[in-house]
Amino acid sequence: MTLHGVDVYLWTPETPQLPITIGKFTLTLISNRGTRVWPPPAPDIKLLDWPRCRYVSDEVVTNEEVESLVAELTAAGWTWTKLQKLFREDGVNLYSEPY
């Protein structure tokens, strides 16, 4: 099982405008209650103040690189409430995709 990214759950009322790349990571999606809201088109649904923001790298990353990404988001003023590391095994993502 290798580390490839992190889901960052933010406390913010709207879909956040985030950097597309941070270090080795690329922002691949933002979801709200399990429904993809970014990249567009975003469905016309009511949003919770708890978007999930997925940063992923095709390369294996380290714990320190994940922590550095999170620190950068915090320094930019975002409040995260939950983090979940994203793992792969034999090329298979060990995490689900949103609708």
């Binding site: 099982m1 889901d7 649904i45 979940q84 793992f87 060990l94 609708y99």
Partner: protein, 333 residues
């Protein structure tokens, strides 16, 4: 002037079921302008998403749809078309009314219960991870907003339809935070409807109560997972998924559907029961402001079943089309 309705013909036996409903609607002089939209296996085979964005946009524009069963492809990455529609159209209230039908014999006589299921969050947010090589985690999302709108929808339905009682179903004795939020919200909102008797039950006890004391219940409201399970239990009490209808409501949009599968092994055999899709269609007629058509069609359906004309799942020998013709004859007669 005809009402515009989006129509998804579905996969497997879906098109045969839609044809049966069309026969009956014509016999009842129901004026509908069907706008066909695509979803299902043929979209996947054409390299499209199982529910294309154009379909979502059209249903949202028109505001109402009727959906026949679709097949969820098996395989990695496949998604449920039903869940996709509910989430992308934000159809937060799944309403499953169950009642006794003449000629459909079950132990549960005088059954008449309406189940409100929250349709957009809970474990169906499908947020899952392997957090270590041997530990999986699934996140249950319960929001005050999500609880409030489904609970309020249930009480508003009760008030509008003369229902006397709403029971909130949960497991807050164990999930004190997530289900506790649902229960607190239920207790807050019930106070706004003093004319409606309201209390709460723990979900396991509620299931036992349903099969032993079903006549004591009128309406149930609950979160997504419990609603999925309890509404199928209730459909079984009614006579099976072949007869139980379903409706999904959001803000300015509604989608009516038979909740059973597409039964691909029966495709083209003219065999399956159209009752569930027909009763979903009559819920739709009510929604469109045609209650008199709903009453007429349901009366014809009950007369047909009462005479013993039934499809194989109910112990009869009628085909899909002959059953539809029998119901249509009741309307023309």
């Amino acid at each position: 002037m005809a009402h515009q309705v989006c129509l998804i013909r579905g996969d497997g036996t879906g098109p045969e079921l839609v044809a049966a409903v069309e026969v009956i609607f014509r016999a009842a002089n129901v004026s509908i302008d069907w706008i066909e939209v695509e979803a299902g296996l043929k979209c996947v085979e054409a390299g499209l998403p199982i529910v294309p964005e154009e379909t979502i946009a059209k249903i949202r524009e028109i505001g109402v749809g009727l959906k026949a069963p679709m097949t969820t492809p098996i395989g990695k990455g496949s998604v449920s078309p039903n869940v996709t529609l509910r989430k992308k159209l934000d159809l937060y209230a799944c309403v499953r009314p169950v009642r006794s039908l003449p000629g459909v014999v079950t132990p549960f006589t005088n059954l008449d219960i309406v189940i409100f299921r929250e349709n957009t969050e809970d474990l169906y947010a499908q947020i899952e991870y392997m957090v270590t090589p041997t530990v999986a985690q699934s996140i249950k999302v319960i929001s005050e907003f999500g609880c409030e709108r489904i609970i309020r929808a249930a009480f508003e339905y009760a008030r509008a339809n003369g229902r006397k009682q709403v029971v909130g179903v949960h497991k807050a004795n164990i999930m004190k935070i997530a289900d506790g939020l649902f229960l607190r919200t239920f207790n807050r909102i019930k106070a706004e409807y003093p004319e409606i008797e309201a209390w709460d039950n723990i979900v396991d006890n509620q299931c036992m109560q349903l099969v032993t004391r079903w006549k004591n219940y009128d309406m149930l409201v609950m979160e997504n997972l419990y609603g999925d399970i309890v509404s199928d239990l209730a459909a079984g009490m009614m006579g099976g998924l072949g007869v139980a209808p379903g409706a999904n409501y959001g803000e300015g949009c509604a989608l009516f559907e038979a909740v059973h599968g597409s039964a691909p092994k029966y495709t083209g055999m003219n065999k399956v029961n159209p009752t569930a899709l027909l009763l979903s269609g009559t819920l739709m007629l009510d929604h469109l402001g045609m209650p008199e058509k709903r009453i007429a069609i349901e009366g014809a359906l009950e007369a047909t079943l009462g005479r013993g004309t039934k499809t194989y799942d109910l112990g009869g020998s009628a085909t899909t089309s002959s059953f539809a013709e029998a119901v249509a004859s009741e309307l023309k007669g």
